[in-house]
Every structure is written in structure tokens, then in C-alpha cells.
Symmetry: C2
Subunit: 507 residues, 2 copies
């Protein structure tokens, strides 16, 4: 075993470190289908935890789940001018609906469709078409729908979880009688995402509107939550769009108002995806592999029995069963504590390192010496891999939730401190060039991303800003809605602006 | 209001009755995409209930969820000869991966793929390709994976839930070291499905192997559970396939045995789909609409406040809140009782009929007269719509679970009695012709399906049988594994056979 379980380390080569963490934790792998990943059981279990929490939050805010077609007729995409321009690329196009088997055993596509179908890259158009049928009167509003689904956006440079041709997500779609209500909904769901990111993923985020160049195609306003990864880059972790009446006009989503007039609805959409798995990995993991925030960890506690003789084995496994049964009553974050005993017949070291690399928050070793002393050895994943504390065996169940809570909070604090250390307020383009490295690769920036971070800067929402930042490979991520801020003038154009924006390189 | 909420009735026109039940309960509707349905919130909530229960059962039997690509390269499908023959049709074929926007605002598919991709109709081939990578040694076995996903099989005659171009399902895929273990797995999952169908869906099923003509393409044996709908037709509600080494050979899924030899795995696959929603509708619903088995009902109890004056409203709503809070502690089927108060400001009759048509198991009306008497009026969905019983208000929470249990059991018993009444043992082709109607439409068979049912008959697994039954539009559904049965001779070919098969028309 090298000094660290993952090679290269973050400092040596951050992008490659990420790939190796994914591999060592057995979260996912590339499939034979270009750009499409296979999400393996541990990766999928992380997604299931996220789904369960988000789904509850969506239902608590009045939304209902439904399911809409995978396929969208080409003509639907053409209806909203900006939407079509934004999505007129990178789509999987279905042109045939039959296969015929040639005498040589080859399959030949036949049954050409009159109108090609695209595999949904997002569902505003098809869901809008249904909303137009469902909404008649103001009594039908608000219409609050969510869909859990797969979507496809053809990716030329795929990267597991972060950018894949097919990914899993949820997309909320709502229709309202007034602009005010739709804006409230947009911000409510942004808050749901921010709460989820910070409370459950232990990932501090900055929330705010994006500049117009970064808006969802067809949206009036796009809001995002932005997180900082350990290379200082930003990752957009969720978006919430106020669509105004753009899609309602394009799809004729109309309602009769109480006074009998016919009005167009105001709509929103919002989504998060399996990209969040990548965000969690890059926020918390270390040079020994995955580190999981307890609230989304598929396993909270792994018990590792240690024994040589059959007698020892029997005693140790009995102790494991006792701890499991003690834990059956314990709760963390409102849910049962998820514990399992790893009784596989493999080397103890190999076993331990596997759980380190898979990010299990608490490893508990139980051997004959522990039993004799009436203790267990507890190792926290947020501490060094060799660091252990001894806990009385009959006290462990009572303290497990406290350990998990400390780890969850500790991960959040650590990520926030990291972000704060890598955040600056800058007042000129020259300072930006210095901060990010003028050549666009980061002056002296190691592969580990030792330079750069979040620059809080006064910039206008203006194409000149995008253009000036382009050589730096930096974009305006969002205009933070929280925290004190002072008005100033755009460091590029000199226009007056009311708040600073966050500028960063991004995923 | 007519005599019945649904028109036509089952007896008048069963297929149309089904469509009207779906519509009246607002479960789903056709989308603008040919053959694809939109699953609306109540329909989707039924699916979520089914998913939750099945997912727990899969995990309890050692399976883990994962996710595999939507797309399958054409060449993968070609690998297993029988599989390709069975699926070489009805597939959505992706041929391009880009769209370009013409100056006229039209989208033109570009970026032709070197190898077309098909949208998965089922995933044996792509999952098998991954299994081949994952399995090295006997220590990696058994590999027990499940996927929740959408699949596409182009349908020329779609029918909501029963036969749609896109549908949602789960597909289990497992690999084993021995034939015995793989057969055990196949039968274990068949049992899981049968238990789920009977316990949770209150839908009696017959389990057994299918004749070779009805096997999954590429399987050695296909087992199914078969349920009888209220028109006497069979609906295949789930299948479990023993794939032998066919797919392992086609995809090189091999392992090193303990003795060091290289062996091919034995694999299985098994699935149920949103078709089950259609099965539940057709098994239990009546001429007033949907009837939901409590265990999968998204709402168990709806409280309907009745009031005229503001004072009455206040008192009645307070009573509803009290009942909701009393019910918070109650459990049915190991889960909290799902209750909601329908306080919408619409006519009481309209409200009540909506819940009837949506199949809520218990409707509870609470008005000023009830309050004065200290009672509530309880109406069971499995009884006539006007039939009500009076229950002391402070006793309702304690008895709600009993009501639900009675309804669940009652629905199962009713469905089983119906099936038994429509099941016969027959001893000749002439008797079959008489039972099903020789002209293939059912002699004198009303649209409501007054004739036919399940015929238990000795038939051989022989093409001659398929051919003889074809004019009757009858197929061999399966060879029931349970119940006493005696050997006999095939009524078509005269061959000796060890057990009777179930013959029926089917969905």
C-alpha cells in the first residue's frame, strides 16, 4: 500500500484523481456505448438516497410526480425560438421504428418515420403540450409536476457523472396564474436545492441568477446553485428557471381568469441530475478515496469482525449481531442507522481499505482484544485512515448518531473553509488575470488546480464581459443573492452594477 | 348521474369500459407521440407504491439496483440468434446524433452514426456485456442486479398501460455458477411476483412454465404469472426467464471455477412493468370506476367535510384534523395510513363521486349531524356507492386498519371466486370450441366477454397445438405448478402429458 490509496493524488493530477476515486469506489464505469455510463450499485445507491430526500421535499412543497414520453417530435422543439437554438445540437434522433433481419443475420433499420423523434434532452416542450390540455381555468392552477427520468444530450467529451450522453435527473415543471407566483416557485425550488446541497450533501453553495449568456434556452431568468470543487473550479449543482410566458405562448398554455378573460400561464422548470454524484465525490473525497456525507451514505456503519480461531470468530460475530440489534432502534437524520457486518473471508487489511475507498462514514473493528476490554475500535472516514478511538461496546449504539452528525457537520465546515480560502474580491481585469492565470491554463497552475477559485467581482451582464473573460476560460457563474454587498462599476465595461458576481472556471 | 359512473358498463363493452375507467380516474392519457402514454399523478403514484414494495422484496432477496445505458448497439442485438429473431422488429432506431437549424427554422438531423443504436426493448445484451467484464472468478458469483428503467417496443395497436410503445419496468439480471442456482433464482423471483400480485395487488395468479412458442427469445424456460381479467381473458402479469448459458455464450460471460477451469455462467432475467397498473384496474374496478387494493392505494382514507355555515365549517374541519392526527399513529400493512382531507370548495356530490371514480378505499363523511351524534359516516369502495356505516368518531382511527384489511382480503376473495367460476376442465377440442366460441369471437360472446375464461386442458408443447388453437384466438398461457393434477393425453395430438395447461384468450 502506497502512502495513499488513490494515485495520483489531488495535488498531482486532479482530473485523473477523480477518475481513480470513481474506479476505486466502484461507483460507475464507461459502457460500450459512447458517452453512456453504467452506474454501479454503490453509485446508484447514492442516487437512491438523493432521490428519496429530494422526492420528499418536492412532495412537501406540493408537487406530484408524473411521467411523460421519452420521445419528442422534432416539430415540438421548433416551437420556442430560443429553445430550439439552444438545443439544436447534441440530440439523439430516432428515424426508424423497425429492424429487419437480413439473411446474413444483420439488422437493417426500416420503417422510416414521417417525422423524426428526438430523445428528450429536457421536457419543456412535451410537458408544455400536455399542460395546454390540462389547464383550462384558473382553478387548475398552480399545476405542480415533477418527473424522474433519463435524458440524452450527445457529449463529445464525456466524463463520468459530470457530463454523460445519457444521465438521470428530475425535472420539475409548473404553471401559474401570475408572474409573481411563478417567480416565487422558481426561488422556492432554488431554496430546496440549496437546503438539500448544504444539509444533505454537506456541500456549501452560492445561489443566484445567472447572466443572460448562461440562461437556459427560452428562460427569462435562470438561477443556479454553484459549489466549489477541490481544484477551485465551480460546479453548477442545480438550476431553477423562470420561463415567463415564453413556453406558454409557444405551446398555448392558457387559462380562463376569474373575470373570464383568457390569459397565458407563467411557467417554471428546475432540475438536478446524477451530476450531483460527481459533485459530492469532488467536494469531499481525499487521497484515500471516496468520502460520503452520512445523510446520503448507503451504509452508515460497517462492522469488521477480526478473528483467527473458530472460537474467536463465534464470539466476535455474536458481538456484531448484538451491535446490529442495538442499532436497530437508533436513528440518524430521521432514518434508521444503516449498518452492515462485513463477514467476508478476505484479508482484514484489504477489507478495511475497501471501506475506506468506498467512503463508509464509520468503520468499527471488533476483535478478541476489544471484546476482552469490552470496547470496539471506531474509525471515522473524515479522519486519517489509521486514527481510531475506543468506545465501550454497549455505548456504541447510543453514540453512533452523534458520530455521524459530527462527520456530516465537519464535512460541511471543511468544504466551506476551503471555499472561503479560495475566494477573493477583485477590482480589475488585471487582478483577474493574475488570479486565474492569464494564459487560460492558470499561470503556474498545477494539474491539481493550486491556483484560482471564486472571484467576487463587479461585472455587468454584457457580452463584452463574456468576451473579456473568454481567454481566461472563466465565466460568470451567478450573482450571489446572499451576503452583504456593495454597488460598484463593471471592471470590464465601467457600467454601474448593484452587486458582485462570482467568476470561476467551471465543470 | 346515471345508474353508474362509468359508461359503458363492463357488460356493455369491456374494452371501452377500461378506457373510461382510466379516464374517469385521471390515471393516464395518450400523448401526442404515437403509442406513448403520459402517466398522470394518480397512475404514477400507483406505480410508486408498487415500486416501493417490489424494491424492498428485491433487496431482501439480495439484489442491488444499478443503471445501464438506454442505447444498445445494433451489433449487440445480433449476438444471440434467437434473441435477435425475437426482437428484430418494433424497435426505435437512433441513426443521427445532431440537429442543425435551417435558415427557415427547421431542424435537420445530421451527424450520422457509424453504427445505429436501438432504444432498449430489454437489456440482456448490454447488461450481459457488462457482466462479462465484472465476472472473473466464482467468487464474483452470484451477481444479482436489478434495474428500474424505461423501455421501448414499437406498438402498432397501443392500449394505455397494457401495450404502449414506451413503458416503465424493472428488469432483474443475474449470473450464477451452476444451472441449479440459476433455476432456483428464476423460481424465487417468480414467487416474489406471485406473492406481490396476490398479497399487494389482491390479484390471484397462476404460476408456471410457458410452452416453447411463448418463451422469451433466447430463454431456455420462461415462467409467468397469469391473472384473469373481468372479461375472462388472461393477462401475463410478470415473467421470469431461465436463460441457461445462451446469453453467457453469446457475450462471453465466463468465470474461473474453484478448480481453475473456465466456465460459462448461467443467467436469468425477470421483469414486471406498468402493465400491472392495467391489470389492477381490470381485476378490481367496477361500473363506478377504479377500485384500489389498499396496499397500493396512494390514499387510504379521504375525509370529506360537509358544512353550510362558517361555524359548521370550523367545527367539521377541526374534527377532520383530529382524525388525521389520531391516524398519524395508526399503521396498515406496516406503513402509516395515508389520509387526506378534501376541503376543496366544490359540490359535495361531485367530490364524493370523484373519490369513488378514483378508487379511494375508504371515504369518510363528516357533517354537523355526525358531529352532534359523535360519529362519522364510513363508505367502503368495495361496497355500493351509497352503502355507509356509522362509526363513533373516536373509534375510527382504531378501526381504519381493520377496514383496510377487510377490503384488501375481500378484493382478493372476489377476484378468486370470479376466476374459479370462469375456470373449467375440458377434455376435447370440441369442448374448447364450445367454451371459447368456434368463430374466434366467442359464440354469442358479448363485448363484455360473457363467455370464455380459463380452460384447464391436457395439451402437448407442440406446434400442432398452437395451430389448432389459433382459429379460436386462444393460447396456452402456462402449465400451472400448483394444485393437484393428473396426467392425460393431449386433446389435439394424443401425446401423453403429465399435467394440464391453462388455455385462454389473452391481453
Amino acid at each position: 500500500m502506497a502512502d495513499h490509496a488513490i494515485s495520483p493524488t489531488r495535488a498531482e493530477d486532479y482530473p485523473e484523481w477523480y477518475q481513480q476515486v470513481v474506479k476505486a469506489a466502484d461507483l460507475a464505469e464507461q459502457s460500450p456505448v459512447r458517452g453512456c455510463m453504467v452506474i454501479k450499485p454503490l453509485g446508484y445507491a447514492m442516487w437512491e438516497r438523493m432521490q428519496a430526500i429530494l422526492d420528499r421535499m418536492f412532495k412537501e412543497t406540493g408537487h406530484q410526480n408524473a411521467y411523460f414520453p421519452l420521445f419528442i417530435p422534432l416539430s415540438y422543439l421548433e416551437k420556442e425560438a430560443k429553445h430550439v437554438a439552444g438545443f439544436a445540437k447534441e440530440c439523439a434522433v430516432v428515424t426508424h421504428h423497425r429492424l429487419e433481419l437480413s439473411p446474413e443475420g444483420k439488422l437493417i433499420p426500416t420503417g422510416k418515420l414521417e417525422e423524426p423523434l428526438i430523445v428528450r434532452p429536457t421536457s419543456e416542450t412535451i410537458i408544455g403540450a400536455m399542460f395546454a390540455r390540462w389547464v383550462q381555468s384558473w382553478r387548475d392552477l398552480p399545476l405542480l409536476i415533477n418527473q424522474w427520468a433519463n435524458v440524452v444530450r450527445w457529449e463529445m467529451r464525456p466524463r463520468v457523472f459530470l457530463r454523460t450522453t445519457e444521465f438521470l435527473w428530475q425535472e420539475g415543471h409548473t404553471a401559474h396564474a401570475t408572474s409573481t407566483e411563478a417567480v416565487e416557485e422558481t426561488l422556492r425550488m432554488l431554496d430546496v436545492y440549496a437546503t438539500f446541497a448544504e444539509r444533505d450533501l454537506a456541500m456549501p453553495v452560492i445561489r443566484g441568477p445567472k447572466p443572460s449568456a448562461e440562461r437556459f434556452p427560452g428562460a427569462v431568468d435562470t438561477y443556479s446553485i454553484e459549489a466549489m470543487m477541490q481544484d477551485g473550479k465551480a460546479l453548477q449543482a442545480g438550476t431553477s428557471h423562470f420561463l415567463g410566458q415564453n413556453f406558454a405562448h409557444a405551446q398555448e398554455i392558457k387559462f380562463a381568469s376569474p373575470s373570464g378573460t383568457e390569459e397565458y400561464c407563467w411557467t417554471t422548470s428546475w432540475g438536478v441530475s446524477t451530476r450531483l454524484i460527481g459533485a459530492v465525490i469532488m467536494t469531499h473525497s481525499d487521497d484515500d478515496g471516496l468520502v460520503l456525507p452520512p445523510r446520503i451514505a448507503p451504509t452508515h456503519v460497517v462492522l469488521i469482525p477480526i478473528h483467527r480461531t473458530p472460537e474467536e470468530k463465534e464470539a466476535v460475530l455474536a458481538a456484531c449481531r448484538r451491535i446490529e440489534s442495538d442499532l436497530a432502534e437508533a436513528r440518524y437524520g430521521g432514518e434508521p442507522i444503516r449498518v452492515r457486518t462485513d463477514a467476508r473471508d478476505i484479508r482484514g487489511g484489504e477489507k478495511t481499505w475497501q471501506h475506506v475507498k468506498q467512503g463508509v462514514p464509520l468503520r468499527v473493528e471488533i476483535g478478541p482484544r476489544d471484546l476482552a476490554a469490552g470496547t470496539v475500535s471506531v474509525m471515522r472516514r473524515d479522519r486519517g485512515p489509521k486514527e481510531r478511538s475506543s468506545v465501550p461496546i454497549d455505548r456504541f449504539a447510543a453514540t453512533a448518531a452523534d458520530f455521524l452528525g459530527e462527520i456530516q457537520q465537519g464535512l460541511f465546515d471543511r468544504a466551506r473553509e476551503f471555499r472561503d480560502r479560495r475566494s477573493v474580491r477583485l477590482e480589475s481585469l488585471e487582478a483577474l488575470q493574475e488570479f486565474f492565470g492569464a494564459d487560460g491554463e492558470g499561470k503556474g497552475e498545477a494539474k491539481g488546480g493550486a491556483k484560482g477559485g471564486f472571484a467576487h467581482v463587479h461585472v455587468a451582464d454584457d457580452p463584452a464581459v463574456t468576451e473579456a473573460l473568454d481567454p481566461l476560460k472563466v465565466t460568470v457563474r451567478c450573482v450571489p443573492m446572499e451576503g452583504d454587498d456593495e454597488p460598484g462599476t463593471c471592471v470590464i465595461t465601467g457600467q454601474p452594477v448593484s452587486r458582485r458576481s462570482v467568476l470561476a472556471r467551471s465543470y
